[in-house]
Every structure is written in C-alpha cells, then in structure tokens.
Amino acid sequence: MKLPIYLDYSATCPVDPRVASKMAEQLTMEGNFGNPASRSHLFGWKAEEAVEDARRQVAELINADPREIVWTSGATESDNLAIKGAAHFYQGRGKHIITSKIEHKAVLDTCRQLEREGFEVTYLNPKEDGIVYPEQVAEAMREDTILVSLMHVNNEIGVINDIAAIGELCRERKVIFHVDAAQSAGKIDIDLAEMKVDLMSFSAHKIYGPKGIGALYVRRKPRVRLEAQMHGGGHERGMRSGTLPTHQIVGMGEAFRIAKEEMADEAKRLVALRERFWSQISDMEEVHINGSAEQRVPGNLNVSFAFVEGESLIMSLKDLAISSGSACTSASLEPSYVLRALGVNDELAHSSLRFSFGRFTTEQDVDTAAKEVRQAVEKLRELSPLWDMYKDGVDLSTIEWAAH
C-alpha cells in the first residue's frame, strides 16, 4: 500500500489517467495546440472543435444547453463572475443579496466586497444539521432582493441543500439564484432543465479534472445577464475574455464525461467505504458526526473526537492525508467558521477531522485509516486532561477557564 493514504478528495483530486492522456494530446506541435479563436486555419478550427466537444460534455452532466456554459479558471472565478456580475447588472432593481454563513470564501469574500460597494447582504445561519432550509430563504426575502447565492454541497461537512425547492421560490419572486456546485457536480444528480437555478459554478479539480479550470452555467431561458469581470478579446460571448486553454478545457470535459458515466456506481461504492470506515470508529466514546448524517454527499465524513485537539491528531496520523476543522496553526486560533455556524461548541470544533474518500480509495485504505485513527485518539486521550475530567464525571462547561 502506498503511504500516506490520500483522504482529502474534497480539497482536490488526482487527475484521472484518462483525463491526463486527453490533455497531453492538446499541447505539442504534433498535438492540438492551436488557439481556438483562430478562424483562419486548421489549427484553430481543430482546437475550437475540441473546446466545443468539452462544452457539450460539461453540459450533458448537468442537463443544460452547451451555449449556457462559460469557461473560467475555476469555481472561485465562477463565484466572482456570478455574484458580482449579477449584482452589478441588476442593481437598478435593488441592492439586497442573501447567502449563508457557511459558504466557501470565494462567495463570502465576494459578498463582503459588494457590501463595501453599498450592497446589503443577509448571511443565513444553517440549522444544526448544516442545512439552509427553503423557509429561511423565504423569510429573508425582501422587496429589493436581487440575488440568492447558496452552495449545493458544503466543502467541509458535505451536507446537501435542497436547491430545487429554493430555486422555486426564487423564480416566483424573480430573484436570481446562484449555486456553487463545486462539491456536488459529478457526485449527486444535477438537472438544470428541472432545477430553477440561474447561475451555477463548477470546478474541474474536484472531479478528477485539472486545477485552474472551471465553468459558470448562465441560464438562457429565462435569460440571465451578467456584467463581465474580465475584459479583453470578448471570448465566451463577452462574459469572460482570455484565450481558452484547450488542454484544461478538454480535461474538464473528459472528467465530466466520465463522471456522468460512472457517478451512480461510484456513489454506491463511496457510501459503502464511508460506512465501512465509520463502523470501525463509531463505537469509541464521544465521537460525533458534524452535519446531517443522511443528507450528505457519498465521499464525505466530518467527525469530532471530543477531548483531543485536531492539529495534534493530524500530527499523529502522518500516514493519512486529511484536513482538520481547527485552524490553530494559522495563528488565529479560530475553529472552523462552518462548524461554529452549526452551533458546534468550540472544543468539539477544535477536535474535528474531515475525511473525504474518492475514486482511488480502497477498502484496505479505509481499514488502515480507521485503525490509525483509533490508536491516535486513544493515545491523545491518555495525554488529555480533559479526558481525565470527563472520566471523573466533571462537566467541562461548568468550569471557569482562563480563556486567553
């Protein structure tokens, strides 16, 4: 077995070898290296054809029209283009935006920027299970609301929002609805012919494509307008200028094609792996899943191990590549803002780990990981004064700590 074991697929994925070989064909003199915007020769035409094939592949996974796909450099750019682009275009109608506290920074920071420009933003607090419910969105709607931006699946806790229902109520009120689908595309069904979503962000590297490429879905019927954020040669119907990176785009197309073909089987396999992992650690005392256990993407498990601190836990688990909900290392000593918004207490938030399984995870990986996690948690609890106190029956919340 290769060590360390990669269990951080929510952060990024390795490129699928089938994707890598397609990409390699778009680079050299012998390959398809042309500029897709070159109209005057075969090199340009061939590159354009490859780009349009990929556009169709992306559109097919989400049941959209290829003309609704705009290439970007990733979900961060897609979020920026969607939110700033729609806010700027529609600001004549109103200046109120609704989002949630557990969005990715690409959405939160973009909203902060709009606040500086004079927009007003409501940040919804998800329920304890990590879900933002349609009723909450309905309640927050105002006369001057122009845009709702919510994620489909949360990157830390893997919880799924009911975007179909939220889409209905946005459409009724003629409010633009943007969804960040970086963590859901290729993992759960997305049908944009059914779902009333106006703008949707995608990233290739979360589904075995390359980093640095993404797309924004921009609905044609009813038509959604955006103000461009990147000006230049007028590529992508003026919405996003810049020479199209054929190799990146072909890679994203192939990744989306594979996802469409294999998603259903892969989901079953990942749920089985997750269950297998969980069944080997869930009998330990004071181990909790963060976020809804049911309404969650197949490959994600976010767990708090009470009385041990996340960073030291990761230090013990040097054979595992995982991420921690505690940001103690960043000198801010802040536990994850996502877990905090769910009402997870700080101590449990500091004790959380995110395991994310993917295409190349094996049963053996999962078994080894579970065994190491158990050992590390047991070792650190032996070292933990909080564990002693818990065992002595002391209620930690009754103690006056000298917070610093």
């Binding site: 601190e309 290392t329 700080d346 500091h350 933990s384 002693d388 917070a403």
Partner: protein
C-alpha cells in the same frame, strides 16, 4: 507545517505523562488554557520538605508544540527549587524546541503552567505553616 525533530521526539515519546494527587499537601497543580481556545495544560509538581521538585507530571490537550512544551518542562523542573522553576522563561522552551513564531503561545502556556503550579504549592505550604503556627 514542519515540526522540529525535538518537538516530534517529545510528541511521540512524551516524558512524565500522568497525574499526581492534587489534594496531597506536597503537590502543586497548575491548569491553564481553555478548551475553546484549543489548548489546556495541566502541570503538577511534587515537592520535598526542602522545597526541591522531586517529581513532575503533565497532561495536555493541544497541538504538538503544546504537548512538547509541557513534556520538556517536566524534565527541566525536576531537581529544581521552586524559585528556580518559577524563573523558567517561555523563550527558553521555544528556543530549545525551535518553535516557529505561530507556536510561541504554546510555550507561553507552559510558562504559565509552571508558574501556576508553583503558586498553588506555595499557597498550600503557606496554609500549612499558618496552621502550625496557629
């Protein structure tokens, strides 16, 4: 984040992990930090009649650097007088363990812990002498 070899050594083989009877007359306990901040350190010292630290134990909830700082501290204080122990500076700990700037507060916590433990045993002894006098 790359850890120094010394931090890893203390983390993987922590010295003097455990617990002394905090009710005992000759044991001083210092508990510092807070779970919400991601670090709690409990440091205990056992002191003989001539005021020398004979034994020290710790348990720490916190990052690897916090665990290493407290482990190192228990080694250092053994055989020292209370005055000497109370003078240990966090900078000495940080230097010995080659802690990076973001980890300095972990060594500060260790300094606070030994100061608190010394204060605790002094209070206990103070009470004792008062009783004897009274």
């Amino acid at each position: 984040m790359a850890y120094s070899d010394k931090v890893i050594d203390h983390y993987e083989h922590p010295r003097n992990v455990g617990r002394l009877d905090d009710k005992a007359e000759n044991v001083g306990t210092g508990m510092v930090g807070a779970p919400a901040c991601g670090d709690v350190m409990r440091l205990q010292i056992q002191v003989n009649d001539s005021g020398i630290i004979e034994d020290a134990k710790f348990k720490t909830y916190g990052c690897g650097s916090a665990i290493a700082s407290s482990s190192l501290l228990t080694e250092w204080v053994k055989g020292k007088s209370l005055d000497e122990a109370a003078q240990i500076k966090n900078t000495e700990i940080a230097e010995e363990l080659a802690l990076p700037p973001v980890k300095i507060h972990c060594s500060v916590l260790a300094e606070d812990a030994i100061k608190a433990a010394v204060k605790n045993i002094r209070e206990k002894r103070g009470e004792k002498t008062e009783e004897a006098a009274g």
